[in-house]
């Protein structure tokens, strides 16, 4: 089960870094955070799971969306 999750996390990471549209990358990153939070619950680490979900997916997504709103969505590479 964890191997499957890790494959999905790896795929999301590649997509986040390769996609041209930064908003898609942000969505991929917050999905990555949610999956790693799920993985922490499987690995018996509830504290870290709540932190990763609340802080990792929650706050950093807000900050990323704010940053993209104030700059540009399209990225050259």
């Amino acid at each position: 089960m964890t191997i499957l999750l890790l494959f999905m996390i790896l795929a999301l990471g590649c997509f986040a870094l390769l996609s041209r549209d930064l908003l898609h990358s942000v969505i991929a990153l917050s999905a990555l955070s949610m999956l790693s939070a799920l993985m922490f619950t499987i690995l018996r680490a509830p504290d870290v799971a709540i932190t990763e979900a609340a802080v990792g997916a929650g706050v950093s997504t807000i900050i990323f969306v704010w940053a993209i709103r104030h700059t540009r969505r399209r990225s050259k590479d």
């Binding site: 709540i50 802080v55 929650g58 706050v59 807000i62 900050i63």
Partner: protein, 244 residues
């Protein structure tokens, strides 16, 4: 020529660092169990916390948590400093972000009815959950930081939902709560030194029924500090007029 040099440099860097961290990650040395066994017996009596993770990061290694709170404070102060300058420069071409200050809101179309109803109704529920996570940190999973962030998201929900600026979403009030909780945290940390139970020691004698309260106190203070500072940053990011 410059292109190939760039490629060589990057491949060399990646190769060396990959080789450097590969054995460390893949080492087959069995995971140490000494600290787990010690905590299994002593965590409850030493710190009074059922949740061993919070007994570590608020009891044995409380200095790390203090350092972490300092990182949070400094980075949010730095971000706010930069935000204020951004606000000043982009005064004319205000980016189309819905602004919370009543007098500055461009058009109401920006704030759909759905957003207002959902977030203003959802706010209190999330707030209650945030305080639960914060207060029960030493028993069930959760604690200062997680509770604080959930409270921050609840405050952002309320700020989105309500038309007028209530007391809870006024950045001035939030700033004051943050400052006070930081002061109480430092005083609580240094109180250990004067009760000769060491920096971040538990001033209340350990073993007595009260010792768990020190962890609850720390949880509440850190929760308030984290909650209010992240809420202030999020409100400022959403273009809300900064109170002071």
């Amino acid at each position: 020529m410059k292109r190939t040099l760039f490629i060589i440099k990057i491949t060399f860097t990646l190769l060396v660092l990959a080789l450097a961290i590969f054995p460390v990650i893949l080492s087959s040395h069995p995971w140490p169990e000494a600290s787990r066994d010690y905590l299994y017996e002593h965590a409850l009596t030493d710190t009074g916390a059922v949740n061993t993770v919070s007994s570590i990061y608020l009891g044995y290694r409380a200095m790390d948590t203090l350092g972490e709170t300092l990182v949070l404070l400094v980075s949010i102060t730095g971000t706010m400093g930069i935000l204020i300058n951004l606000g000043r420069e982009s005064e004319e071409e205000e980016a189309v972000s819905f602004s919370l200050a009543p007098e500055k809101r461009p058009t109401n179309a920006q704030r759909t009815h759905l957003l207002e109803v959902v977030s203003s109704k959802l706010g209190p529920v999330v707030l209650l959950f945030g305080f639960y996570v914060m207060l029960y940190g030493h028993i069930s999973p959760g604690g200062g930081f997680q509770g604080g962030v959930i409270v921050a998201s609840a405050i952002v929900f309320l700020a989105l939902g309500t038309e007028t600026q209530t007391k809870l979403t006024n950045t001035n009030v939030l700033g004051r709560i943050e400052a006070l909780s930081f002061l109480v945290l430092i005083v609580a940390a240094t109180s250990g030194v004067f009760f000769e139970s060491g920096f971040f020691g538990n001033p209340i004698k350990s073993g007595s029924s009260l010792s768990a309260n020190f962890i609850i106190l720390l949880n509440i203070i850190i929760g308030l500090k984290v909650g209010t500072s992240i809420a202030v940053m999020c409100i400022a990011m959403m273009g809300g007029r900064r109170g002071h």
